[in-house]
């Protein structure tokens, strides 16, 4: 109350100092965390995205141990419409099938299966209600696509966060490791739907329960921004061709992400 120390400048300096601390900390953090390797050579140009866009891989400890022992990897993909893949020309071209194909190419001499349990218009709570059937498949990894229905319907973000955290816990209790996949991106939908709080909730849920988070939204945005894909204003004749190509890219990048997680020694 007594001094007049040109407070705005003090505040600016304070903020700048904190920003510097944050920047230094940020520059330092990836050294401790794991980094993604660059994508393999045979990745089609349209699929490419900087490795950092995909997300930070999280060690898939149990799956890796099981894989080293048996050379087997069983994955269940659960999610909503974009997992079910109704937009593809045939079910074998939805991203879970593409993930399986990509993993088989990159991990030859191994027994790999990816089951698709996607179903249209499902909220995360509806998916958790189906987890008993997921667990019954005894997978090593569950790739869980979440957030679209919630963002579209503007559902409570905190409820969503709780459901996702609870879902990860249920799967972890069954010895299953989780990779979260966030919503799809295209300019038309991003303009109408506020995805940001839901993306943040997914990141937070992953952080809280040490799950991996495949940043599909960020990756697809990179594709759109760099003209690798154009989803808006496509002609109906092109719909299934574009969907096949996009799902193939998602499958390839996810395979890269899964392998990164298997390779990390915690």
């Amino acid at each position: 109350m007594m001094r007049t120390p040109r407070p705005r400048r003090v505040a600016v300096r304070h903020a700048a100092a904190l920003a510097l601390v944050a920047a230094l900390a940020f520059a330092d953090a990836p050294a401790a965390a794991q980094r993604m390797r660059e994508l393999p050579e045979d990745t089609p140009a349209s699929c490419r995205a900087p490795a950092a866009t995909i997300g930070d891989p999280v060690p898939l400890v149990r799956a890796a141990a099981e894989f080293r022992r048996s050379r087997r990897l069983k994955i269940v993909a659960i999610g909503s419409s974009s997992t079910a893949g109704g937009a593809a020309s045939e079910p074998a071209r939805a991203w879970p099938a593409q993930l399986e194909a990509a993993l088989r190419r990159r991990l030859p001499n191994a027994e790999i299966s990816v089951a698709n349990m996607g179903a249209v218009r499902q909220t995360s709570a509806m998916m958790v209600a189906r987890f008993a059937r997921v667990v019954a498949e005894r997978p090593d990894i569950v790739v869980w696509e979440v957030g679209t229905a919630e963002a579209v319907r503007h559902l409570d973000v905190d409820d969503f966060l709780r459901v996702v955290v609870n879902g990860i816990e249920q799967l972890a209790a069954a010895g299953i490791e989780v990779i979260l996949v966030d919503p799809q991106y295209t300019r038309d939908t991003a303009r109408l739907i506020t995805f940001e709080p839901y993306l943040a909730a997914i990141a937070r849920a992953a952080q809280m329960r040490d799950a991996a988070h495949f940043r599909r939204f960020q990756v697809m945005r990179y594709w759109v921004d760099n003209d690798q894909f154009q989803f808006d204003g496509a002609r109906p004749a092109e719909f299934s061709r574009i969907a096949d190509a996009a799902y193939e890219c998602v499958g390839r990048l996810l395979a890269h992400f899964v392998i990164a997680g298997l390779r990390i020694r915690p």
Partner: protein
């Protein structure tokens, strides 16, 4: 008090008491809050890394709601003392109406956006996302839900809160003058209830208000109460000597914690525990304390008669604060436009920075325009009988 000068309150939408009595710090922080809210809402804005959301558990929304309560009390309780509570209540209701019209205006913009995009969204890859157009299939319901503040899609969640807070003020004006304890109980009670139980209003088609009015009213009413005590009743109070250092320590500690959370240095359980008390919808206690500590530090750093509030380069922010309501509405409108532009323009930092600068300048321009109108209105009224 300069009541004589403002004895006949002007029936303009922006009627405020005489400017001589006005604490410019309020206008400054209110203007700053408005500009920060806009900056934080430009998607992926790198500049938002330097606003409160990266170094504190509260953000510009708290600042804006608190100062809105403080200013509203200053204006309307002051008005009630001069011209009677019924007239002041009528003026509050008039502001509610302005906000309500702005809300409906945003609904029209949102509907236009959706209708414009619905054809192009035919791509089955986005079948799920297409549900956002669902309200067009039942417009008779959607319109009613928008009119009753229950339809709150993208960016339509702040105005309903503000409308409800102002409606609350219409009810609590008398309480703020004569029964302050009643206001305290009426504000703290619902807040505590929210923290202990699930209490919120529903939205259409499902979900709850993003800004839980039962929780956020506490900040507005706290601001209103302090506004009445310090500005209308001119009470003197100096904080105990330990308060400012304690608040400063809290601010620094909270910053460190926020950075640790953002950088992922904490365990999952710790992060969960922190977010449980820093919830934005229900304005968790950590947010409330963080904001209170920041406010105490800010007031200590910026005494009432500080010379800097008169610095010409801060004038634009102060003018924004003085036309808070309208600048706020313009800010939300610019957010919608800015969001669409950033999505539309190609990648890189340039569009975000461009939209931020243009939007901020537009807010300031509108504020100056309104200020000019007010000045002309006064001159005209003084010159020849008022219109």
């Amino acid at each position: 008090m300069a009541t004589a000068a403002a004895a006949a309150p002007r029936p303009t939408a922006a009627s405020v008491p005489s400017e001589r009595a006005r604490d410019l710090r309020l206008d400054f922080f209110r203007g700053l809050g408005l500009i920060l809210i806009f900056i934080d809402h430009v998607p992926d804005n790198p500049i938002s890394n330097y606003t409160l959301i990266s170094i504190a558990f509260c953000d510009a929304t708290e600042l804006f709601v608190f100062i809105s309560g403080y200013t509203a009390a200053l204006v309307f309780v002051g008005l009630a003392r001069r011209a009677g509570t019924p007239f002041a209540t009528a003026q509050v209701l008039r502001r509610c109406w302005t906000l309500y019209v702005a809300h409906i205006f945003l609904f029209v913009i949102f509907t236009a956006q959706v209708a414009w995009t619905v054809e192009r969204l035919a791509n089955p890859m986005f079948a799920e996302e297409m549900n956002v157009t669902g309200f067009l299939r039942e417009p008779h319901i959607a319109v009613l839900q928008a009119l009753s503040l229950q339809f709150q899609p993208t960016y339509m969640n702040i105005l309903p809160l503000y409308i409800l807070l102002m409606l609350g003020l219409a009810v609590s004006l008398a309480g703020l003058r004569w029964w302050k304890l009643l206001i305290v109980v009426g504000a703290v009670g619902p807040y505590v209830a929210v923290q202990l139980a699930d209490l919120n209003l529903p939205t259409y088609p499902d979900g709850h208000w993003y800004f839980n009015p039962f929780a956020w009213q506490l900040l507005f009413n706290a601001g209103a109460l302090l506004g009445v005590l310090f500005e209308v009743e001119k009470r003197d109070w100096s904080p105990p000597s330990w308060l400012v250092p304690a608040a400063a320590a809290f601010v620094v500690g909270a910053s460190a914690l926020r950075i640790a959370v953002n950088e992922g240095w904490l365990s999952g359980a710790a992060v969960q525990a922190i977010w449980q008390i820093a919830d934005k919808t229900d304005m968790g206690p950590l947010r409330l304390l963080n904001f209170a500590a920041l406010a105490i530090v800010a007031v200590a750093l910026a005494p009432r008669d500080a010379a800097w509030v008169h610095a010409p380069w801060l004038r634009p922010i102060i003018v924004c604060g003085q036309n808070g309501l309208n600048v706020f509405c313009v800010g939300i409108f610019l957010t919608v436009i800015g969001h669409a532009l950033v999505v539309e323009i190609n990648p890189g930092l340039a569009p975000q920075i461009l939209v931020t600068i243009v939007g901020t300048v537009a807010q300031i321009a509108v504020a100056y325009y309104l200020e000019w109108l007010k000045g002309r209105g006064r001159a005209a009224a003084a010159g020849g009988g008022g219109a």
